[in-house]
């Protein structure tokens, strides 16, 4: 049913991103309130849209009044509504967390930071909600440009990582555009719903196969799927600590959503598993990514770099879950994606707080957290346990459903991959626990700042969210099963 809510979901962060530079030149202190108020509105509107979409059916918004398939249409259904809620809430928390860090790290770049973060969030929302393939490319590029600049805005070492991220990301987006061109040449339409209807007749042609392969390849570069993850460790490690929670928690998940939408909704489950069996290939790639990412994380001394390789491993698990081919596997993968946004935001938030308060950037230095930083320690403990998969955190339930789905599909390599990567994850996180709790405190102590209130609040909310998502996993899984599963299982 048509509704103007999706239009507001784009307009609110976009308008705020545009107003912030204009207002901020008069007084810099206005940037942060405008950004946070806009994100609060965005979260409220996205929750309303999700509830409307779940109860009354998908909401659609035709831009400019032109009906699809000629016009561009934005659709809020179960999957995109859930992701939009996750994006808006986690980015609100990440921006709350970033407040003290921005003032310390980027004192003269406050306006670009807030404006670009809001532009990034608007672009991510646009990618999630759109129902048109080329519109997805446009928002992919907008979000990517904002994130390239956010990664490099601190100068110094981060500039080179941002440049490498730019080159690789542009290659990925260009490959995606090429794939869209091939699909357009074969079918004549760009609208996702229309493409679903026109594809079955042309499925046997090489054009469609090449188009799909280009799209998957391009999105895999953007996602950070092993072995196309080359930009990810450097970008996450050297990006300023105020930007990393936002970048790490949501930016790679939206190309993953785009892949899921194209593979499962447009092409259909039957096509991508039997006729053009990319799901089989991606299952193996995901399994290898999960294990290799976790293995590489063990050897890292820098805490943020360890978390970056952990993100590579998680992306492998998501792809593995989606490629299992059962409903439980798909739903488990989606649940684990939602849980991972909270977990990664919390972990990178802890890393930022550690550097801000006591200058601790390596895993060994994290022992300084024991002095007078209880909130940060609690967040670190809960999110690390969730990454490993200990009940009752959300990560446990995500991995549990993934394993159940893999057993249903009788793909035992997937079960093995999930268990092995969980064991390797346990290895590096428990090594971190040992450094934090079992080592003696150093005698000569650098000055430890007190935890600022925004960091306390954001880490507290994230910790509570991880546990609440875990305890309420039945509700969320029920919601996913009801409204976010594609047809064809």
């Amino acid at each position: 049913m048509t509704s103007s809510l999706p239009g507001f979901l784009f307009a609110i962060p976009f308008f705020a991103a545009v107003v912030i530079p204009v207002v901020g030149f008069t007084n810099q202190k206005f940037c942060r309130p405008i950004a946070l108020v806009a994100l609060v509105f965005l979260s409220i509107v996205s929750v309303i849209s999700l509830s409307e979409a779940v109860s009354h059916g998908p909401l659609s918004h035709e831009f400019g009044g032109w009906a699809p398939p000629i016009g561009i249409e934005w659709v809020v259904d179960g999957l995109s509504g859930l992701l939009m809620v996750a994006i808006s809430i986690v980015s609100l928390i990440a921006l709350v967390h970033a407040g003290p860090l921005v003032e310390k790290e980027l004192p003269d770049r406050v306006i670009p930071f807030y404006s670009l973060s809001l532009l990034l969030i608007a672009a991510l929302g646009g990618m999630v909600l759109t129902g048109d393939l080329f519109n997805l490319f446009v928002f992919l590029e907008i979000g990517s440009l904002a994130s390239y600049v956010l990664v490099g805005v601190a100068g110094g070492r981060s500039l080179y990582s941002a440049f490498r991220y730019l080159i690789l990301g542009t290659i990925g987006a260009s490959l995606y555009l090429l794939g869209v061109g091939y699909l357009y040449a074969a079918t004549g339409t760009l609208n996702m719903a229309d493409l679903t209807q026109r594809l079955p007749e042309v499925l046997n042609s090489r054009v469609v196969l090449t188009g799909l392969l280009f799209i998957v390849f391009g999105l895999a570069i953007k996602m950070g799927l092993f072995p196309l993850h080359g930009w990810l460790p450097d970008a996450y490690t050297y990006a300023p600590d105020s930007c990393t929670p936002l970048l790490a928690s949501v930016v790679t998940k939206v190309p993953l959503y785009a892949f899921v939408r194209i593979a499962f909704w447009i092409f259909g489950m039957a096509t991508v598993s039997t006729q053009i069996p990319i799901l089989v290939v991606l299952g193996w790639i995901g399994a290898v990514a999960a294990i290799v990412g976790a293995y590489l994380a063990i050897w890292q001394e820098n805490f943020k770099r360890m978390l970056a390789y952990s993100s590579v491993s998680s992306m492998g698990l998501f792809v593995l879950g989606f490629s299992l081919g059962t409903e439980t596997g798909f739903a488990g993968g989606l649940f684990y994606v939602l849980a991972d946004t909270l977990m990664k935001a919390a972990l990178f938030g802890v890393a930022g707080a550690a550097i801000y308060q006591c200058g601790a950037s390596t895993v060994t230095d994290l022992v300084r957290l024991r002095r007078n930083m209880p909130w940060v320690l609690a967040a670190l403990l809960i999110s690390a346990l969730s990454m490993v998969g200990i009940p009752p955190t959300a990560g446990f339930f995500g991995k549990w459903h993934l394993v159940v789905g893999a057993l249903e599909a009788e793909k035992y390599f997937a079960v093995a991959a999930i268990l092995v990567s969980s064991m390797l994850t346990a290895l590096y996180f428990f090594r971190m626990f040992q450094r934090v709790w079992a080592e003696p405190l150093p005698l000569v102590e650098p000055h430890v700042l007190e935890t600022p209130f925004p960091i306390k609040m954001s880490l507290g909310v994230l910790t509570f969210g991880i546990i609440a998502l875990g305890l309420g996993s039945d509700l969320v899984m029920g919601l996913i099963f009801e409204s976010a599963i594609p047809k064809g299982f």
């Binding site: 907008i142 390239y148 490099g152 100068g155 080159i167 542009t170 290659i171 555009l177 061109g181």
Partner: protein
Amino acid sequence: MADIFLYRPHFVAFIILFLLGIYIMVVNLNLVKKLIGMYLMQTSIILFFITLAVKKDSTIPILLPSATAVTPEAYANPLPHVLMLTAIVVGVSTLGVSLAMVIALYRQYNTLEEDEILGKMK
């Protein structure tokens, strides 16, 4: 196999430009030359889209006020043109951001060669 050069030379041109762009990006160590390769690759994709829009004996896809009967065969397909306008804008903004990054890298490390920058970073 040879008929692709006769009947579809534009696809051959696109493939050559695309691979040339990627080769330039991979082989050169100078950052600005990498950007040239990147932009060449993006331009080749734009070329590919535009060639999808051409029809036989068709004119530019702009409807004149004096046109009486409108038949779709007389006009080229306007949709790829519009898409590529957007893609050109995206390419130009990417180029702007990347050039700004290259300038900032130059101011910091005083060189534009990738291996020297990596050496100075250690």
